[in-house]
């Protein structure tokens, strides 16, 4: 039995130590907003925050997370940057199929936490680990800038 802190709640899961956080969230805690895309930290669909930092949950074993604060897409809207990013996503019509967008939102919030006014190069650096097959990239870029303005 592993005890985790997810979205400010203490939760328990009966899983092997090597189980990636992604599957604990999805299959054991029913937090299905975080998505499975590649299983190899190549696409970013599974991005969550661990202690505020973006982490690929598909390759992060739960055993590494004891005592660390985990935040998922289900709770990110409770923070100011989370709220601003989600609002900007709607205004800029970012999502198409939407499957990668939880990960995109989590990556964008992490970026805006560390960088109040990201340049195009900053956005490239922070967001290029997140694949979108619908290629919503121009709108993600615009939405990050919009969110940054609304938080200023």
């Amino acid at each position: 039995m592993i005890t985790l802190s997810v979205n400010d709640k203490r939760v328990e899961a009966d899983v092997d130590d090597d189980t990636p956080l992604l599957w604990v969230l999805r299959d054991h805690l029913n937090l299905t907003g975080t998505k499975f895309g590649c299983g190899m930290a190549l696409c970013g669909a599974c991005t969550v925050h661990v202690a505020g930092e973006p982490v690929r949950s598909c390759v992060t074993p739960v055993s590494a997370l004891a005592g660390k604060k985990i935040t998922t897409i289900e709770a990110i809207g409770q923070s100011n940057p989370g709220k601003a990013v989600q609002a900007a996503w709607v205004v800029e019509s970012v999502p198409q199929c939407g499957y990668c967008q939880s990960g995109q939102v989590m990556a964008a919030v992490a970026l805006l936490r560390s960088n109040k006014k990201p340049t195009d190069a900053d956005i490239d650096a922070a967001m290029s680990g997140n694949i979108c097959r619908c290629a919503t990239y121009p709108r993600i870029r615009a939405a990050i800038k919009r969110a940054a303005r609304s938080l200023a």
């Binding site: 299905t32 895309g37 190899m40 939407g98 097959r133």
Partner: protein, 711 residues
């Protein structure tokens, strides 16, 4: 007409209430009374207007596009609009372009629904007006509706307030549709209905479905297409704690072994521990290079005629000079972000499935056949799809059959969620076929094109599918030659021939289908001709398109916006291309500098532009999708084994590679045509033409790979 009761029964029977995860608001059973004038519109006492969308929302925007049409005729308020997916029922929810077949594809969702959804909205409107007229004792023609409220003198009522009374009105047989000059939503950039749920993690995909007692199945496929399962050893898999079942299965498309557990990770560990032996005697064992060699030999022989104007061979002999080029295209994977998956539950009544469902009628027939049921015993529940690009409309229902076969192999002991990992998805086949094209042109002394011969070699997508009788004529699969056989350029002697070798690699339509390769071959070859004849590529096209105003319109619009002809700094160049697919006309201009795509201008004519925002989104999306294939997309085979497995060896465009895109929508009064696919074909040829302009070297093999690197 559907009664409230049957709708509720459907929702109940669909198992929506049983899902262990949160449901999108619209799917949850609501105590609110509603008015359903037809199969497509439901107006609730809570003042919501829900459109039952017969098409799959896979990113293209149909959950916004179809409600736009209903809202238009209903004069609804945009924020009150909702969308839910329709169940499988070809009698009510067929694609009107396909007869009594329900499905999504060919960029038809909006065009085939254009009048149907407007009529559905107008019908609801007429019944609301009749209800108000009765209630207020007012003449119907004096009642006005604006943004979801009905008005007469000092009386007003919302749709919700009138829903119960409207449900008692007679359904009018004929309704009048609005004059386009009165449109309030069509032509305006309404926001996507699904944007919020897709930004906060609440949108429900197949991957997210959880039924009570459900097991997750992870599968082992054979390494080669067409191999049969000889034997397998389940001991190590069964030794893993939590593995519940290990079963072999066989469908019309593949053999395999499935490992089932309550969760994915356990099932995957079990699958990884499996060993199996395969009989490769009928399996495909060639490598890509060997296959291409065979295609090259075929191209030199006479093929089936797809188009013949004049006598191209004779004209070629009389030409002042001739040009030749050959183009090579690899297999391509769809690589949708959501790897293929499907939930199946067997019970006494049949099989119930949950899926991002693109091909309802075909899937019902094939799943029924697999299970020994009638098609109507296969119930399909619609979910969002995490991309498809054609993949979820599989002509053989491959992954649905797999889910059904596994559920049957465990004798229905549990509902089964089939989950493919990325590697399973990428190696499973159903690719855009590999193609080889040869082109030859004859020019007269003035450099005019007097002859054009185009030979295409590649597998037929439709042969052997339910579409063969309709779409394959005299050995020509229309989807192999589309974009080439209907070349719009005024060339007096023109021949297009096709070879369709039969090989065991499963292939399928891939966003924009034939145009993925024909647009490249024709548009790049035209630029090679322009270069040889010392003509401007834009002016040459313009001259050859005199009788094709819509091609010419987008060509001119793109050129103008891009500043075609204006001098560029040293080291920069532009490329242009124009193409029609799915009745939508697109032209693109790409501007490059060394290793950077500086700018893409895209002009589109898709008839009446229903939602300019979604049109722009789809052009951007198609360009990004096409760019992935142009830069690096290739599935290759080595002795029959697929060499790629995940995004490290099948790279796709990321944020840092995505160019700025400017979309110009050319005004049109023509009937609307689709936009999901037509943005895709041109980025590769426009980019290749820019490279040709920059360094004089023609691109004849895709992907570009080492030929030209872009950041």
């Amino acid at each position: 007409m559907i009664t409230n009761e049957s709708r509720r029964d459907f929702l109940k029977a669909s198992g929506a209430l049983l899902l262990g995860v949160h449901l999108p608001q619209a799917l949850a059973q609501s105590p609110v009374k509603y008015f359903e004038p037809n199969a497509f519109v439901r107006i609730g006492a809570d003042n919501t207007v829900t459109v039952i969308v017969k098409h799959l929302e896979m990113g293209q925007g149909t959950y916004t596009g179809l409600p736009t049409l209903v809202a238009e005729e209903l004069d609804a308020d945009w924020p009150q609009m909702r969308a839910i997916g329709a169940p499988a029922d070809a009698k009510r929810y067929n694609n009107t372009f396909w007869g009594e077949v329900q499905g999504t594809g060919g960029s038809t969702a909006l065009p085939n629904s254009y009048e149907q959804m407007r009529k559905a909205g107008a019908t609801a409107r007429a019944m609301l007006v009749a209800a108000a007229a009765e209630k207020w004792n007012a003449p119907a023609n004096e009642i006005k509706i604006s943004h979801g409220t009905l008005y007469w003198r000092d009386r007003r009522a919302t749709f919700g307030q009138l829903a119960a009374d409207a449900a008692k009105q007679k359904v009018p047989e004929n309704v009048t549709l609005k004059d386009p000059k009165d449109f309030i939503y069509i032509g305006k950039p309404a926001r996507r209905i699904d944007a919020r749920a897709k930004s906060d993690g609440t949108a429900l995909f197949t991957q997210d479905v959880k039924l009570p007692g459900m097991l997750t199945a992870v599968v082992l496929h054979p390494p080669r297409f067409g191999a049969k399962l000889k034997s397998f050893d389940a001991a190590k898999a069964k030794a893993i704690k939590g593995v519940r079942e290990v079963v072999a299965f066989s469908t019309a498309t593949t053999d395999g072994v499935a490992v089932l557990a309550a969760d994915y990770w356990t099932a995957k560990k079990g699958r990884d521990a499996l060993t199996a032996e395969w009989d490769d005697s009928n399996a495909f064992r060639l490598s890509s290079a060997e296959l291409m060699d065979q295609y090259k030999k075929l191209a030199a022989t006479a093929g089936a005629s797809a188009r013949k104007e004049g006598d191209a061979d004779a004209a070629m002999k009389n030409a002042a000079r001739t040009l030749e080029a050959a183009y090579e295209f690899p297999f391509l994977a769809h690589a949708a972000m959501e790897p293929m998956n499907c939930v199946a539950r067997l019970d006494a009544g049949g099989c119930e499935m949950w899926n991002g469902e693109q091909f309802q009628t075909v899937d019902q027939v094939q799943v029924a056949k697999q299970l020994g049921l009638r098609p109507d015993q296969v119930k399909l529940n619609q979910l969002y799809a995490g991309g498809s690009f054609g993949r979820r409309a599989n002509p053989k229902s491959d992954f649905l059959l797999e889910a059904a076969a596994i559920a049957k192999a465990i004798e229905g002991r549990a509902p089964v969620k089939l989950v493919w990992g990325r590697e399973d998805d990428m190696k499973a086949g159903w690719y855009r076929p590999m193609y080889y094209h040869t082109l030859k042109a004859g020019l007269d002394a003035q450099g005019n094109i007097i002859a054009w011969k185009h030979v295409i070699v590649g597998q037929s997508i439709l042969t052997g599918t339910a579409f063969e009788p309709m779409m394959v004529k005299d050995g020509v699969d229309a989807t192999s030659v589309e974009g080439a056989s209907n070349l719009p350029y005024a060339i007096p002697n023109l021949a297009v021939e096709l070879h369709s070798p039969k090989i065991a690699v499963p292939v399928q339509w891939w966003r924009s289908v034939g145009s993925t390769h024909t647009a490249f071959a024709t548009e790049c070859f035209l630029d090679e001709i322009a270069r040889e004849a010392k003509k401007d590529p834009f002016e040459l096209r313009r001259a050859l398109l005199a009788k094709h105003p819509r091609h010419k319109g987008v060509l001119e619009a793109a050129a103008q916006k891009a500043g075609w002809g204006k001098p560029l700094p040293k080291g920069r160049a532009r490329g242009i291309a124009v193409h029609e697919s799915f009745n939508t006309f697109v032209a693109q201009v790409v501007e490059i500098s060394g290793r950077k795509i500086e700018r893409v201008v895209c002009a589109v004519d898709c008839g009446v532009p229903v939602n300019p925002n979604i049109i722009a989104m789809q052009m951007e999306s198609g360009i990004g999708f096409g760019l992935s294939a142009a830069l690096a997309g290739a599935i290759t085979l080595k002795e029959g084994v697929v060499e790629q497995s995940n995004f490290h060896d099948y790279p796709v465009v990321r944020m840092n590679q995505m160019p700025p895109i400017e979309v110009v929508i050319v005004p049109s009064q023509e009937k609307p045509s689709g936009v999901g696919e037509p943005g895709t074909p041109l980025i590769a040829p426009a980019l290749a033409n820019a490279l040709l302009a920059l360094n004089g070297k023609a691109v004849r093999t895709l992907p570009l790979g080492q030929q030209a690197r872009f950041v």
